[in-house]
Every structure is written in C-alpha cells, then in structure tokens.
C-alpha cells in the first residue's frame, strides 16, 4: 500500500465514522462537534488532492464560522435531547433507511468499483493538480474567468444579511 492510500483510508474512516456518529447522537451539541471532526477529515482529504487553499478555507469557513453559528443557535434555544433514536424507530424510518441504502447501491454501481467506464482514465491525479490548488492560481482564475458569479456572491450575501436580520430580530417596528 502506498502512503497516499494509507492517508486516504485513515481520513475516509474518520469522515464516515464521524458522519454516522453525528446523525445518531441524541444531543445536538455532540452532533455539532462530530460534524466539525468530519470537516477536519474533509480538509485533510482536500490536502491529499493538492487543493491547499480549499482545505484552509474549509476549516476557516465551515469549522470556524458556520459551526460557531450553529452552536450559538443550539445554546440560544437550549434544547433538551431528542428521545433516543431507537424508541422512535418506526416503519417510516426503516423505509427511509432502505431507500437510502438502495440509493447508495445505485450510486456505487454507476461509479463502478474499480474498473471499466469512463473513469478508467482517471487512475491518478493530473500533473496540473499541484499547480491549480495554490492561492496564486485560484486568485488569477477567480478574478478573470469567474468574475460574474463572484459579484453575484456579494448580492447573495447581502440578501442573507437582510433576510436573517428581518427574521431573527425581536420586534418588528
């Protein structure tokens, strides 16, 4: 086994396990902490894909900002635990699990385990991968080819500020 494969398998195991723990913990705070662990594993996976800037942004934005907001809201509402998952396991839950498993089988079948299909040509990373993940390259592409979506992002964020303030403010004047 190459060192890349070992690193990938460790990070993948952390990511999947923390994801499963996240959806099974009754306490929302524990769920949020496991989601942060999942984001860390994803940042590591981005590093293995030579996307350094995306990896740093992943930690800065997701683990640093979005999860802070989520934890604030959990404490703001001061929720009790949901009743444990096993008690509320109904016919509908088994149905949804079955549907999800079928979807997973379908996706894996489309990807194909290890051989065949159009992905066969992508057995290893492109030689350009090292270059395109750097901050310099992202800066030069983002502000030349992708200017239009970039400016639209500012409108989106403006809409988000206004919408969130209108909805979360205590009294409407």
């Amino acid at each position: 086994m190459s060192s890349e494969l070992i690193v990938f398998l460790i990070l993948a195991a952390v990511g999947v396990l923390s994801g499963i723990l996240m959806i099974t913990r009754p306490n929302p705070v524990n769920s949020a902490l496991f989601l942060i662990l999942n984001f860390m594993a994803l940042a590591g996976l981005y590093i293995t894909l030579h996307a350094q800037f995306v990896a740093i942004i992943q930690i800065l934005v997701y683990a640093g900002a979005i999860m802070v907001l989520v934890l604030f809201v959990i404490m703001l509402l001061n929720l009790e635990d949901e009743e444990p998952l096993r008690e509320q396991m109904s016919k509908r839950h088994y149905g949804s699990l079955l549907v999800a498993l079928l979807a997973l089988v379908l996706i894996v079948q489309v990807i194909g385990w290890n051989s065949g299909g159009t992905l066969e040509t992508m057995r290893e990373q492109s030689p350009h991968a090292l270059r395109i993940g750097t901050v310099e390259h992202i800066g030069s592409v983002l502000f030349t080819e992708h200017v239009y979506p970039f400016e639209l992002t500012s409108i989106l964020l403006l809409a988000a500020i206004v919408g969130a303030i209108v909805m979360a403010k205590k009294r409407f004047p």
Binding site: E4, N38, A65
Partner: protein, 100 residues
C-alpha cells in the same frame, strides 16, 4: 496512487449518511447540519474531479458553494429562531400547519 473511484464512493457514502439523517431525525438544527454534510460530500466530488482532470473550475465551484452554505446557515438558523419564538419547538413533527 489512489484512483478517483475511492473519492467518489466516499463522497457517496457521506451523502447518503446525510440523507439518512434528514429522513430520521426530527430536530430542525440536526437536519440543517445533515444538509451541510451533504453539501460537503458534493464539494469533495468537485475537488476530486478538479484534481484528476487538472481543471480548476471544480475548486471555483467549491468557493461559491461555501458562500451559498454560509448564506444558507445565516437564513436557515434565523428561520429556526423565528420558529422557536413562535411555536416553542424545533421538532419538525410539531410544525405541520401547512400539511393538509
């Protein structure tokens, strides 16, 4: 080297984990976090294809998805706060006034 299938299958597993969370949990905030998990698994697919194809468009997409996720977090959690203020609950089974 690691073939791209590994990344795609990992991403599929994480996406389905998020789907199961959305379908089984009743707490609006946890459902919201599951949606973040699904967004992230899609991001992983984008970055994997970006690295294996040698094309940076996938990483650009990830930045815009992150901006959308931040906007979604701000508005979505504001909705949760407004909901809690009006109904004193975040259990989505109790919020069924539009269900017919």
């Amino acid at each position: 080297m690691v073939p791209i299938h590994y990344y795609l299958i990992l991403s599929a597993v994480m996406f389905i984990t998020g789907v199961v969370g959305v379908l089984t949990r009743r707490n609006a905030i946890i459902i919201f976090m599951c949606i973040e998990l699904m967004l992230n698994s899609v991001n992983l697919t984008f970055v994997a294809f970006s690295a294996y194809l040698g094309n940076e468009t996938g990483q650009m997409f990830v930045f815009f998805i992150m901006a959308v996720a931040a906007a979604e977090a701000a508005v979505g959690l504001a909705i949760v706060i407004a909901l809690f203020r009006n109904r004193q609950t975040v259990n989505i089974n109790d919020v069924n006034i539009l269900r017919w």
